[in-house]
């Protein structure tokens, strides 16, 4: 393990990777700051840039974009009450009242320090847990992987459906269906190509990610314009907090760091649930007098979600790096990018590509430092971006999305397909179908089919592997619980209504 850590340190501290993490943090902060654009879009926009890079550098850049976007989202939540990212919505509850009362600098500084500590604690926990889990998962077989991926898909569907489990479920199946387009690698048979040569290799992951997130989000911003925010509180002055104030929030930060990390590990939970949960926990733990301050500019109310969302970002890397199973839309895009670099994520990543595994973990710590040391003092200037008019900004996002895909394939047919997918994704968004499960299904489709094929082959075509192997059986029981529990809850709710 120490050899791996040393390899990771030397890789993460190489000049190229240090530049990558800085650029990632800056780009993420800029994009996350813009209301309506989240980390998924930010990372999708980065994929074409990372294609020519070393896998470790590419991943470091994207990880930097991820927590940079969360940091940027907090800034717009606090300054203009317009969260750029769902994971920072809870930060606006107390951050914006603080900014309105003339304490914008204090609120931003507290958010940055909380994020830094949350991220650092979570990185340490990641360092501790990821290798352990990776070692355990080395004993996994095809049937275990198959079931584990099914568990990932069902939990994501259960959590990300915003209360509508069926919609998330059909989107997951839709993503799996899209993954079957092209030549089946196990049998060499063409499926759903309809004679088109362009479809022989299947649908491009980059194209799908860019069209369904970056492009669709920009179109959604045109269709349903975000209401003009009050930018009067974007003036940031004093960025300091007193020792007494820090003492007040220290226990909150400690609790929220651990809570955020473990919530982040759960597939589908991620930064949004972590931040709301941490906010709720702090509110419940607060005395009656402190409880009154929540929602009116409480420092604890700001520190809790800020710590938890950053810790959850690191936590979400555990299933990605150790099992090769993304727990959220953001890590699903990273998984797709890793596969396109020729690196197969999973337990073997720890053994076959230790420089990628460890350098990503080490770079997270560097990224948190970058956000604190460089981005925080620059926030008064970066916040000026909020004043850029949307009629200028949206066309630029469209341009970067289109040209990003074009520069990979140099095929204008991809751009036509992209526009149609974006329109379809926009309609699905309007009908309130979540898009992230679709992408997750698309990315996990091929490995699921492959592992099912191998498990059946090893069992002479029998599905007895579901109950014969204890690990598979245990995961299968979890899948059943994840599927049945929400249905039972819906049934009970409706019958009581």
């Amino acid at each position: 393990m120490w050899d791996g850590i040393l390899i990771g340190i030397s890789t993460a501290f190489s000049p190229v990777n240090l530049i990558a993490v800085m650029l990632g943090c800056f780009a993420g902060t800029f994009i996350g700051l813009l209301p309506g654009l989240g980390p998924i879009s930010a990372i999708a926009l980065m994929i074409p840039i990372t294609y020519g890079l070393d896998p470790a550098t590419g991943m470091i850049l994207m990880a930097g974009v991820y927590y940079g976007a969360i940091f940027g989202g907090s800034t717009s939540s606090i300054l203009i009450n317009a969260p750029g990212v769902a994971g920072t919505v809870a930060s606006s509850f107390d951050g914006y009242p603080l900014a309105k009362s003339g304490n914008a600098g204090k609120a931003l500084a507290l958010a940055a320090y909380s994020s830094f500590i949350g991220g650092t604690v979570a990185t340490f926990l990641l360092l501790l847990f990821a290798p352990l889990l990776a070692k355990v998962s080395l004993s996994f077989q095809s049937s275990d992987y198959f079931m584990l991926m099914v568990l990932g898909l069902t939990t994501v569907a259960a959590f990300s459906g915003k209360g509508n489990y069926l919609k998330a479920g059909i989107m997951t199946i839709f993503g799996l269906m899209l993954s079957t387009v092209g030549t089946d690698l196990s049998t060499g048979v063409e499926r759903y190509t309809f004679g088109s040569i362009d479809l022989l290799d299947g649908i491009s992951f980059l194209l799908l990610a860019m069209a369904s997130f970056a492009l669709a989000e920009a179109l959604h911003n045109i269709l349903v314009p975000v209401k003009e925010s009050d930018t009067s509180s974007t003036e940031v002055s004093d960025l300091s907090i007193s020792k007494q104030e820090f003492g007040e929030v220290a226990p909150t930060i400690g609790r929220s760091s651990i809570l955020g990390f473990f919530v982040g590990i759960l597939p589908g939970a991620g930064a949004t649930i972590a931040s709301f949960l941490a906010y709720g926990v702090e509110r419940n733990l607060a005395s009656e007098e402190q409880k009154q301050k929540f929602g009116k500019g409480s420092l604890r109310g700001l520190a809790a979600p800020e710590t938890a969302n950053n810790a959850a970002c690191s936590g979400s890397f555990v299933p990605l790096l150790t099992l090769g199973i993304p727990g959220s839309g953001t890590t699903a895009i990273m998984l797709g990018a890793l596969i396109s670099y020729g690196v197969q994520p999973g337990p073997r990543l720890f053994v076959d590509h230790p420089q990628v595994f460890w350098s990503v973990i080490i770079s997270m710590y560097i990224g948190n430092m970058v956000l604190l040391i460089m981005n925080l003092p620059l926030i008064p200037y970066i916040a000026k971006l909020l004043t850029v008019p949307r009629p200028i900004l949206i066309p630029l996002i469209l341009f970067f999305s289109l040209i990003g895909v074009y520069l990979v394939s140099f095929n204008t047919t991809d751009l036509y397909i992209m526009v149609f997918i974006a329109i379809f994704a926009l309609l699905l968004r309007l009908l309130q179908f979540p898009i992230a499960p679709m992408l997750l299904g698309f990315i996990l489709g091929k490995p699921i089919e492959d592992n099912l094929y191998r498990a059946l082959l090893a069992n002479n075509g029998s599905v007895s592997f579901l109950w014969e192997r204890p690990i598979t059986l245990a995961i299968f029981c979890l899948v059943c619980a994840v599927v049945i529990l929400p249905c039972w809850r819906i049934y009970r709710k409706r019958s009581s209504d």
Binding site: G52, N164, L166, K167, G169, I170, I173, F174, L176, M177, T180, D184, S186, T187, G188, V189, E190, R191, Y192, L219, I222, L223, V224, P225, P389, R390, P391, I392, I394, P395, L396, L398, F399, L402, I403, Y406, L407, T412, L415, Y416, V419, A422, I423, L426, L428, L430, L431, Q432, F433, E449, L452, Y453, L456, L457, G461, R494
Partner: protein, 146 residues
């Protein structure tokens, strides 16, 4: 009809077609698992879930689609398709400047100087970055090449 049922009908049609076209997939061996098996499983699961979407009552509200800015979105999509058409024909620089300015106009930006400076400077910087720094060849456009 509310949005859940509309979505359910769309997906049911899609899944039924998916299942129908799965029968066209060639089967090369007699084994239990062929290239058709996974699409069959998905198609059946998709039909069941989309039927549940149609049948089960929904508590979600319907959305007022008429209050949205559809004309701007359609104009923007058209601009993107025209950009894709022109990119290989008139070259990156002219196509991009035209595309950005069209988008600015669709977005009701009327500060002509801002529009011109933004589109021109961004396109030129991006072109220089791609061709001179990253050594990516961008064809000048088939119409100019004869």
């Amino acid at each position: 009809m509310n949005e859940q049922r509309v979505g359910g009908v769309i997906f049911f049609v899609f899944c039924a077609l998916y299942l129908f076209f799965a029968t066209d997939i060639t089967v090369t061996s007699e084994s239990t698992f062929s290239a058709r098996t996974f699409p069959y499983i998905l198609g059946v699961m998709g039909c069941i879930v989309s039927l549940l979407l149609i049948v089960l009552p929904s508590i979600q509200k319907t959305i007022a689609l008429t209050q949205l800015k559809w004309s701007a979105v359609f104009a923007m999509c058209l601009a993107m398709l025209v950009y894709a058409f022109l990119l290989s024909r008139i070259g990156f620089i002219i196509a991009t400047i035209l595309f950005l300015n069209t988008c600015f106009i669709i977005m009701r930006e009327r500060k002509w100087r801002h529009m011109f400076y933004t589109s021109f400077s961004l396109t030129c910087i991006f072109w220089l970055l791609l061709t001179q720094v990253l050594n990516i060849y961008l064809a000048p456009g088939s119409w100019w090449m004869g």
